[in-house]
């Protein structure tokens, strides 16, 4: 058992060529997932059962099953139906990349909407009462009082979820997406040097995690700049 440095130097540029796909997966599904989470949040905050119940079922199903199973259902499962193959979504669902985006979006949307709901419910009631005493309408209270405070409360758990999303993007390699993980797996299959390749890839992912944490840390400081330390 030896540690082959030249192999790492050879394969690092190859793996880093997949960085673009990893970023695309992370950012596309992150943004779409945030939008979905917001829609789900609004559905749950209405008191109409026909809005909140479907949202609750969606969140329950996507939080209760492994993301890998969700990816497989969307990539391998959906083409079983003629209707899907003839629908306008087929150009997206035909590609492994599109399926990965759809699966990651639905999954992260379910998790993030729970984070947002927790943050909204954690906003101090007294502030909302003060708002209504000042004559703000329900919508004004939501926009000017609840939202800024909820964003600040939601940042730490949300940054954890973005890190989970980054880690989940590696699962796209199971449906032949050649992101960093997919490329690393092919190199390992060719060279049979799991230590060198996988450990250097793990370090790359850890560097990303570090930057995501730092980035959200700065954002949190910015959002709470008027809070006395």
């Amino acid at each position: 058992m030896s540690f082959d440095i030249s192999l790492i130097l050879d394969s690092l540029p190859k793996m880093l060529s997949g960085i673009g796909l990893t970023f695309q997966l992370l950012i596309l599904s992150g943004v779409l997932g945030l939008f979905l989470a917001f829609v789900l949040l609004l559905m749950r905050l209405t008191e109409k059962w026909y809005f909140s119940f479907p949202a609750q079922i969606f969140i329950y199903v996507f939080r209760g099953t492994p993301i890998l199973v969700q990816i497989f259902i969307i990539y391998y499962g959906l083409p079983q139906f003629e209707a899907i193959r003839e629908s306008i979504f087929w150009p997206i669902l035909r590609e492994p990349f599109g399926c990965a985006i759809v699966a990651l979006t639905l999954n992260t949307g379910a998790y993030v909407s729970e984070i947002l709901r927790g943050a909204v419910l954690a906003v101090d009631r007294g502030l909302l009462e003060a708002g209504s005493a000042l004559g703000l309408s329900r919508n004004q209270r939501f926009i000017y009082i609840t939202s800024p405070l909820a964003i600040r409360l939601g940042i730490p758990p949300y940054s954890n979820d973005v890190i989970s999303l980054l880690k989940s993007t590696a699962l796209a390699s199971t449906i032949t997406v050649f992101d960093m993980m997919g490329i690393a797996r092919t190199i390992v299959a060719e060279t049979y040097a799991p230590y060198e390749i996988f450990i250097s890839l793990a370090i790359i992912y850890m560097i990303f995690t570090f930057f995501i944490q730092k980035g959200f840390g700065y954002f949190e400081n910015f959002m709470s700049r008027h809070v006395k330390k």
Binding site: V61, G64, G77, M206
Partner: protein, 231 residues
């Protein structure tokens, strides 16, 4: 749905495999978590450094990467180790069950480390002082005061860790263990009905996580039972 007939027994045994992995990794996860928390709370700087590295590494790398690294890595390491004693051995096979169980227990154990650490720190100092005043020894304080207070604090996060463990078992199909996703792939190859086969896997996982959620809710209610009289 008639495509499933003939596959029920495969799904059943695969579910048993998933439950076995869950039980084994749950035990290992608690052990890793407690060791990690003990190291982080200890006075030794080296133990703290090691525990910090452990949580940073396993919380920052994708789960699939850890599973693959431990499976292939342990095969190579064990082969090298056995060749020292018997050069005729070409390759040592590591069972995917144990490699996978160990990998997911390590991953979730790093999260459990933080949970247990927080829970031990969350024990009321007043309770400890009361125990001292009553003349309880350190061990007695640990068993009768710290543990009962600590598990109630840790329980909600611990329930989430159990759910993560269940969901991470799906990853072990990647290293070729005959579990649910693996059965679904085989069934798809024979019947050509991928959606039906993978939806069943999803429903089984949903069932397992529902049972765990209800179990944790029950435990939480039990943990609060002494507070009910106050209301």
């Amino acid at each position: 749905m008639e495509a499933i007939t003939g596959w029920w027994d495969d799904y059943f045994f695969a579910t048993i495999v998933v439950l076995k992995i869950f039980m084994a990794s749950l035990l290992l996860m608690v052990i890793f978590g407690l060791i990690g928390a003990a190291a982080k709370l200890s006075n030794s700087i080296i133990a703290k450094k090691i525990a910090n590295a452990y949580t940073i590494i396993f919380r920052g790398t994708p789960e699939i990467l850890v599973v693959l690294l431990i499976y292939f890595g342990s095969a190579i390491a064990l082969t090298a180790l056995f060749q020292v004693f018997d050069p005729s051995i070409k390759y040592v096979d590591v069972p995917p069950f144990w490699a996978g169980t160990f990998a997911i227990a390590l991953i979730v154990g790093s999260y459990a480390t933080e949970t247990f650490r927080g829970a031990f720190l969350g024990v009321e100092p007043g309770s400890i002082e009361a125990a001292r005043a009553l003349g309880l020894s350190n061990i007695q304080t640990f068993i009768y005061i710290r543990i009962p207070e600590m598990w109630r604090i840790a329980l909600p996060s611990f329930g989430n860790h159990m759910l993560s463990l269940v969901k991470d078992t799906a990853l072990i199909s990647i290293i070729g263990l005959n579990e649910l996703l693996f059965v679904a792939e085989q069934a798809t190859a024979t019947t050509g009905k991928p959606f039906t086969m993978f939806i069943i896997v999803g429903l089984i996982y949903l069932g397992i996580s529902t049972v765990i959620t209800l179990f944790v809710m029950g435990l939480e209610a039990y943990g609060r039972s002494h507070l009910r009289a106050v209301k």
